[in-house]
């Protein structure tokens, strides 16, 4: 236990050294070389970030408000993708008929990157929220279906037999055996799905939007405002990281039964 703590302390120490080294190199590069023409210093980025917490980027929205706009889009698209993805994944994994019909279609859709849907989404749904929801949906949906399907395929048939022997009917066996043994797979899919949704919202916003964190980056590009671009990128990274942490935490709570030891 002691050794473990020490190891953790060490790896944290080296991670911090890595980050610090980049920040120092960045600052030195900006101050003393021609890179300074292309980049703001980390401190400038940080100051701008603090400034945009209370001052608008663009017409009226502050940085947190732009983030909230993007997050809202992700939550809607991701939730729809989760519901539809889990239903289709389980149906494909448990019913031969559904598998036979949907799997080839799905395998065709699967390799299409979510940005490839942007032009189609704009033609179909215009430049409003529906188009963005559609793009985000497609990004998350594919990952969630793939993983849920894999989970539904590996359900232990013996365990279904156990449930029947104990008096469960088919519906009960489905909810008490099939679903719980898919949950870890569903979560794996949702984890990947959420991060691809977060990437997709940015792509969608960069193409057509008047608000959202993706838009702040394109707006920065149009105004030649490097600091604003960096503020956007860093905000994206931090929120992406927080989303991943949130998903991992949810998994730990919901999949407690898989954890050995205390």
């Amino acid at each position: 236990m002691k050794i473990k703590l020490k190891e953790m302390g060490n790896s944290l120490f080296f991670s911090l050294i890595g980050i610090a080294a980049i920040l120092i190199l960045w600052t030195l590069g900006v101050k003393f070389t021609s890179v300074g023409l292309l980049l703001p210093t980390p401190l400038e980025v940080l100051q701008r970030m603090a400034y945009t917490f209370s001052n608008a980027i663009g017409r009226e929205l502050t940085l947190p408000m732009h983030l909230a706009v993007s997050l809202r889009r992700v939550v809607i698209g991701f939730s729809l993708a989760s519901v539809c993805g889990v239903v289709l994944g389980i149906a494909m994994g448990r019913f031969r008929m559904v598998e036979a019909v949907c799997k080839p279609l799905f395998e065709l859709v699967r390799p299409i990157p979510s940005v490839a849907w942007i032009p189609l989404a704009i033609v179909w749904f215009g430049i409003g929220e529906t188009a963005k929801t559609f793009i985000i949906f497609m990004a998350g949906f594919v990952n969630i279906v793939v993983n849920t399907y894999a989970g539904a395929k590996q359900v232990d048939e013996n365990m279904l037999g156990v449930a029947y022997m104990l008096g469960a009917n088919e519906i009960q066996a489905f909810f008490h055996v099939v679903i719980p043994s898919c949950v870890p797979y569903i979560f794996a899919g949702m984890q990947v799905g959420l991060s691809t949704c977060w990437m997709a919202v940015l792509a969608a916003e960069m193409v057509s939007s008047t608000e959202g964190i993706g838009w702040t980056i394109t707006a920065g590009q149009e105004n030649g405002d490097m600091t604003q671009i960096f503020v956007g990128i860093i905000a994206i990274a931090v929120v992406g990281l927080l989303l991943a942490v949130l998903m991992r935490w949810a998994e730990r709570v919901l999949c407690r039964w898989r954890v050995r030891g205390k």
Binding site: M159, G161, A163, M165, P180, W257
Partner: protein, 254 residues
């Protein structure tokens, strides 16, 4: 004596063939035996002789290709909560706690929460897992997991409990301990038990009656009534004599 006892299982000319492209495989042939109420019967035979198949037939997970099996006057036609099963590997619901595993059967049959909790608790206490109700199986040792499996089968209060080499995967020490436990449990909560094993010691320690099976295709070779006083002593001369006899008879079946 058996004339006055209620018959729980009647196997009548049971046979089972597995059909496949590679050829038909006759696993059980003309199997006949009865099991009476509250009797502890051990099906004993060499490995790979279709003992588990017999349990699957009794439990209804598979159906015989010839003859019939009648349990409590009803022909077996599919799985039923009236027949409990303890498996070779524990087969617990890993996503449910000990309590949720044990109360699973009653819950599926709509027994109200308060009653099924009490009943589950009774059997959790009986198998000695008091205090582990809210643990997940992954945190329990192999022996403890098998206890949960036993409690889960008993909590459904079936007419008949089948145990399929439940201690086959345990180490020798735990195995002795679990044999004592099963002896104690089946004395406290009397049930008809059909127990499958390929371990002669285990068979003699637990059984009221041992049915020695032939190897492929499986049928009854010989029966022994074990009337040594309980709990039995593995090292008593009578125990060892019976063990010698059964082992010799088993060699003849090969």
């Amino acid at each position: 004596m058996s004339e006055t006892r209620k018959t729980v299982i009647e196997c009548k000319h049971v046979s089972k063939t597995f059909y496949s492209m590679a050829g038909d495989n006759l696993v059980v042939s003309d199997l006949n035996f009865n099991v009476y109420e509250n009797e502890f019967v051990v099906l004993f035979g060499p490995g790979q002789c279709g003992k588990s198949t017999i349990l699957n037939l009794i439990s209804g997970l598979e159906s015989p290709t010839g003859g019939e099996i009648v349990v409590s006057g009803e022909k077996v036609s599919g799985p039923s909560p009236k027949r409990g099963m303890v498996y070779q590997t524990t087969n617990l619901f890993m996503w449910y706690t000990v309590m949720q595993n044990v109360e699973f059967g009653p819950k599926m049959q709509g027994v109200p929460k308060k009653i099924r909790r009490e009943r589950a608790q009774k059997y959790i206490d009986l198998v000695g897992l008091n205090g582990f109700e809210n643990q997940f199986p992954v945190k329990l040792s192999g022996g403890m997991q098998q206890r949960v499996g036993i409690a889960r089968a008993y909590a459904n209060e079936p007419e008949l409990i089948c145990m399929d080499e439940p201690f086959g995967h345990l180490d020798a020490q735990t195995r002795y301990l679990m044999e004592e436990e099963v002896e104690r449990i089946s004395n406290t909560a009397r049930r008809t038990v059909v127990f499958v094993t390929n371990n002669a010691e285990e068979a003699i320690y637990l059984a009221d009656r041992i049915i020695l099976l032939h190897n492929c295709p499986t049928s009854v070779h010989k029966e022994y009534t074990v009337d040594l006083p309980r709990p039995r002593d593995y090292t008593s001369p009578e125990f060892l004599a019976l063990r010698e006899q059964i082992t010799a008879d088993m060699d003849n079946t090969l």
